[in-house]
């Protein structure tokens, strides 16, 4: 069963450097994500990953195309879609002066639900920080807290935007375990990353984006077979990072 379906998603923005001109941040993206998958969107900075996610989440107006998430047309019913999904954003700052417990209570109330904050904090191993302010958390703890915030409504689909960027290896593994645990209970997970190891070890299927388009899609093994630059005489030469660099070029991105 498809739980996220995108057909020809399109979004253009005014160019910041040249007045009057626009650029296509997302340029005809189509996705078909099965319920229960961990689906990864890979791409260099500025490839359009976040904009694609935000259109699926109902955060950014859909410029063109159709998005169906959890059985609902995002354009027509964005607030109902939000009721059924969980979202973790790249930026994870919260109101000053509110503790983790109070923030979770706020987010729970915004979904019209009444889960105990302690249950949610327990799921991400932060129970002992219930009365702390988010500013006092470490990078990994912050990331786990923002996943807890995304879980308050028992979502059908969990969107994670670069969940491990900037974390140390221990914290990164910890988040991976959390993602696997959530997925093992049947939650669909859509994540963006530019960490190849993460994509390879977590994701059942991957889409590689660049310049607003999907340039390759498949399981990690399929992608390595099709796109790794080594000659295919020996099976599975190179790794996913080779595929990534081969497809998107090795020039530095801003």
């Amino acid at each position: 069963m498809l739980i996220v379906e995108a057909r020809d998603l399109f979004k253009s923005y005014p160019r910041p450097d040249r007045k009057g001109e626009t650029f296509n941040a997302v340029d005809g993206v189509s996705l078909a994500i099965e319920a229960g998958e961990v689906f990864g969107i890979l791409g260099p900075n500025g490839a359009g990953k976040t904009t694609t996610l935000e259109m699926l989440e109902g955060l950014t107006d859909i410029g063109g195309g159709v998005a169906i998430v959890a059985g609902l047309d995002v354009k027509a019913e964005p607030y109902k879609v939000k009721q059924r999904i969980g979202v973790q954003l790249q930026a994870n700052e919260y109101f000053d002066h509110l503790s983790l417990r109070e923030l979770l209570r706020l987010f729970t109330a915004l979904y019209g639900r009444a889960e105990a904050p302690e249950t949610l904090l327990g799921r991400v191993n932060l129970l002992e920080k219930a009365d702390a302010k988010p500013a006092k958390l470490s990078g990994g703890q912050k990331q786990r807290f923002s996943i807890a915030c995304a879980l308050v409504n028992e979502p059908q689909v969990l969107f994670l935007d670069e969940p491990t960027t900037g974390l140390d290896p221990q914290a990164k593994r910890n988040i991976w375990d959390l993602i696997r645990a959530l997925n093992s209970k049947g939650m669909t997970i859509v994540l963006t990353t530019h960490n190849m190891e993460e994509a390879e070890s977590l994701c059942g299927r991957i889409a590689i984006m660049d310049h607003g388009k999907i340039i390759a899609q498949g399981t990690p093994q399929e992608l390595i077979l099709q796109h790794a630059p080594e000659p295919p005489t020996a099976p599975l030469h190179g790794n996913l990072e080779d595929v990534f660099l081969h497809l998107t070029g090795s020039a530095l991105r801003e």
């Binding site: 989440e57 955060l59 950014t60 107006d61 607030y79 109902k80 939000k82 009721q83 979202v87 954003l89 790249q90 930026a91 994870n92 700052e93 919260y94 109101f95 000053d96 002066h97 509110l98 109070e102 706020l106 987010f107 109330a109 915004l110 979904y111 019209g112 915030c149 995304a150 409504n153």
Partner: protein, 361 residues
Amino acid sequence: MNLTFVMTRTFLRLFSRDRQAIFFSLFFPLVFMTVFGLAGSGADDPMKIGIVDSAGNALSRQFVATLSANPLFEVSEGDEAALREQVVAGDLRLALILPAGFQDNGTPSALTVLVDAAQVRELGLIMPVLEQALVDVERDLRNITSLFSLTVEDVKARSQNYLSFVVPGLLAFTLMTLSIGGSGFNIVEYRRKGILKRLFVTPIQPKHFIGGLVLSRTIICMTQLTVLVGIAVVLFRVEVAGSFASLYVVGILGTALFLSIGFCLGSLAKTQQAIMAIGNLVTFPQVFLSGIFYPIETLPDLIQPFAHLLPLSFVATGLREIIVNGAGIGDILPTLAGLTVWAIVALGLAIWLFVWKEVAA
């Protein structure tokens, strides 16, 4: 629970924990009240003047004694050089030099007045007072009874003073800063930190967010209004001639107006520095032009018509009419109309400027 009330409760809790914001919202009005309350409690300070008595005769002694007895002046004597220095230093408003030939022999004596014109802005006010004092001395010396005498009577026959004038202005000023800060400053802050976006991940809609912000700020502003009026009444003996209900009507309209202005500014400014700058641009001129500290009538004639039309002027005038003159809602309809027009314009502009998706982005 309705999402608007969830947000209202959240914003109220955030404000109640923001000690800095609470402190500053009460600090300035209280400091001003204290300063003006103390300054206005006694009679005006006497004017410090110096006298150089070059004559040193009976007549000049009597002149100095008469002037010293006048409560308007605090007289000190000395030689010309010393007094001149004190005038330059600003310790004396002026020094009066009685010439050596100062006597009652029928020829008028030329008295010299030393002033620093740059320091004595009220020179035009002082000179007639001084001349009057001289005439009094002369009458006294010659035993002439004055034809006229003046007694000042306050027609309002109430114990109102400058503090009563300034308190409504301070209230209006507090409403303005709390409201513009509450909407404009906070929105820029929440947007910059990504908090707005985090909120809009949930099924909350803009109307809930704005509704919660407006409701919580109105409650905060009315609480501050009550606290400040209470302090003015209890500690500074300011009389509130009108009703509290009328005060709240003007207060709520003013809050709505300034919140809308804040939403406009919050939409225009992308950074914290920018909101500070345009916030000051909007509030500072109003503080000086809206009759907060001095009546608008003291401004140049050319500016007055415009000054009367400023948003803060309407709020200050409305509150002042109620507190000082005991006006009811029916008496200040033009002021309320002005406030309403401003509120509608600001709200319309806020809606027009406010692109939610962009704000959250």
